[in-house]
């Protein structure tokens, strides 16, 4: 398949999926949930109020027209106003993105570094008591709800011992990184690192039994060189893929951490929006995140083709 044809086909597929997401969100919010006007107008609304709200939201028009309106909103990136604060949804999204990224980017970098380091270590010592121990500890650690880590961590480190502020946020990115984001990042790391270690360990072990490793060993290379140069380079592809796949998650923020530590990010905004039934906000975020996911997948496929010439041949 020629490169251009592949590009066009893949792009078309992504756009089709995006259309599917828009349709799903539309069906979910305009049909499955019943009449959105009853939620916006409240329980005490009269029939006249309801009719007014319906007219204002355009719900009295045919469904296909409403759907086209929604597609138009997505194309323009303008999702109207929030039902609860009457701020434009795009403005909310923009202002909440910064705090979420301040929290999540350090978390992603630290998590990748720690997980790769520990995975390399336990893969090199596979079968030893350390490997068994890490496996056992991470299984048990993963089975404790992340809520418990956050509750206990916030109570012990911030409230009891006073090493960190219990909650809060400032306008300066530097202060946030130094003071307010510290404990949430560490707790997030604690929660997310165990599954990553298990995953990366399996990626590395898959490479460690390959023929090229035996060849390298037969050449007389040191175990360290084999592990860090030959094995890691090959295991890097699935690891990088996994990190890339995590990127769209940056847009949803960290729901629980942001809520516990009162960080004004997107995750906290989503939870508030669900509590307040703020439909435009939830719809907008869902579509934004799906777009990001599809874009990352698309770019990831292009990278693959570029990195590994065999991919295009199938």
């Amino acid at each position: 398949m020629s490169g251009l044809l592949f590009l066009v086909r893949r792009l078309g597929q992504a756009l089709l999926t995006l259309l599917g997401v828009i349709l799903l969100v539309f069906i979910l919010f305009n049909w499955v949930g019943g009449d959105p006007a009853t939620i916006l107008a409240g329980k005490m609304a009269s029939a006249q109020d309801l009719a007014n709200v319906r007219h204002q939201l355009g719900l009295d028009r045919p469904l296909w027209q409403q759907f086209l309106d929604f597609v138009g909103q997505v194309l323009r990136g303008d999702y109207g106003e929030s039902w609860s604060t009457h701020e434009p949804v795009s403005a909310i999204f923009r202002s909440r993105l910064g705090p979420s990224l301040t929290l999540l980017i350090p978390m992603l970098i630290l998590e990748t570094l720690v997980a790769v380091a520990v995975a390399l270590l336990v893969a090199a010592l596979r079968g030893s008591w350390l490997d068994q121990g890490v496996r056992m500890v991470s299984t048990v650690a993963m089975s404790i709800s992340l809520l418990v880590y956050i509750i206990v961590g916030q109570y012990v480190f911030a409230y009891l011992w006073g090493w960190f502020p219990v909650k809060g946020w400032s306008d300066s990115v530097l202060t946030n990184l130094r003071v307010y984001a510290l404990l949430p990042v560490l707790l997030g790391l604690l929660v997310s690192v165990a599954p990553s270690i298990r995953l990366y360990r399996s990626f590395i072990l898959e490479e460690i039994d390959q023929d090229f490793v035996r060849t390298a060993r037969a050449k007389g290379l040191s175990e360290r060189r084999i592990l860090f140069v030959h094995v890691l380079r090959n295991a890097a592809i699935p690891i990088v893929t996994n990190v890339l796949m995590g990127l769209p998650g940056l847009l949803t923020g960290a729901f629980l951490l942001e809520r516990f530590f009162a960080i004004p990010g997107i995750g906290r905004e989503i939870i508030l929006a669900v509590e307040r039934s703020d439909f435009p906000l939830i719809k907008a975020i869902t579509v934004y995140v799906a777009m990001a996911t599809l874009a990352v997948n698309f770019l990831g496929d292009l990278c693959y083709r570029w990195l590994d010439p065999r991919v295009g041949l199938e």
């Binding site: 597929q13 999926t17 969100v25 993963m142 089975s143 206990v152 509590e275 939830i282 995140v289």
Partner: protein
Amino acid sequence: MTVQMDSSMRSESAWSLALRRLWRDPVGRISLGVVTFYLVLVGMVLAGWLGTRWNDPVAVNYAPPTWFVSAANRVTLPAGEAWDRTLVVPLYGWTDPLEPLWSEARAAAQRIQPEPVSYRLTLPFGADKWGRDVGQKVLKGTQTSVWVGLVAAFVATLIGTVLGALAGYYGRVVDDLLNGFYGVLTSIPYLLLVFAVAAVLQQKGVGTLILILGLTGWTGVFRLVRAEYMKHRTREYVLAAGALGASHGRRVWVHILPNVGHVVLVQFSQNLVGFIKSEVILSFLGFGVPVSSVSWGSMLNEAQNELILGKWWQLVVTTVAMAVFVTASSLLTDALRDALDPRLNS
């Protein structure tokens, strides 16, 4: 030449072999035991033999946990005490505008003459803010969480298996459509999708929770079952069944399904763990079980506020109950995978 078949010559079925392999693995045996113990507990709570008094105030507020009970472990509160009101208003020489109502209420309380209630001072697992027994609550909470996880996992596995089988077996348009749907669902992060559905459904309850988790969580099963069916549909035994006149439906459900059953079972047990974790988060945030019920998530929600007051027992009891079950289920999933996939065993 005919060979006489008797029971001793019949070869063991793959499933009983797998069960035997599972039993030989100490981790598999112990985790199976723990999971079975929890399932029995859930069954007993569902049947109404255990945990029925979780909503009764049986102890004083925040009664601490202790296992060494002295003889005088009860306090009897005089009845009707709640009606005595320290009046601030008369101090200023005013008459209390509510006094007629209060005297009426006091008179009514006198007429009823409620029994003095006795409350326990300590409980084995302590009490919560309202004096409810944490031991009883954790039984009921375990039932809710595990039950939601089980039924939702069943729903998700059923949807994923049926759609995966259709997509993998028939291919072409069916596959394109279902795979497109899969692509749509997986391009939205799981927890965000769950929140969106929770926001739309607007009502809380165990049924809603099961619906949310089951309808959003089938994609993993779908992907694996579809891949298995694509592999199996051209195998000789399926072609042979077709040549003998077996219909497509028969080939899909009778011939191939038992051969991919191990994938389905492992996915079910993996979903169970995932759904329980999601249920706990949803209920913690207040989008899950209603206040008239209790689950691990709603208990953790109460425990968060109690911890600041130094009342740690509800948090510890809930965390341990959940961690033991989830650890056992995860280990059982791994052990099942090893036992069911003969290629992994030499």
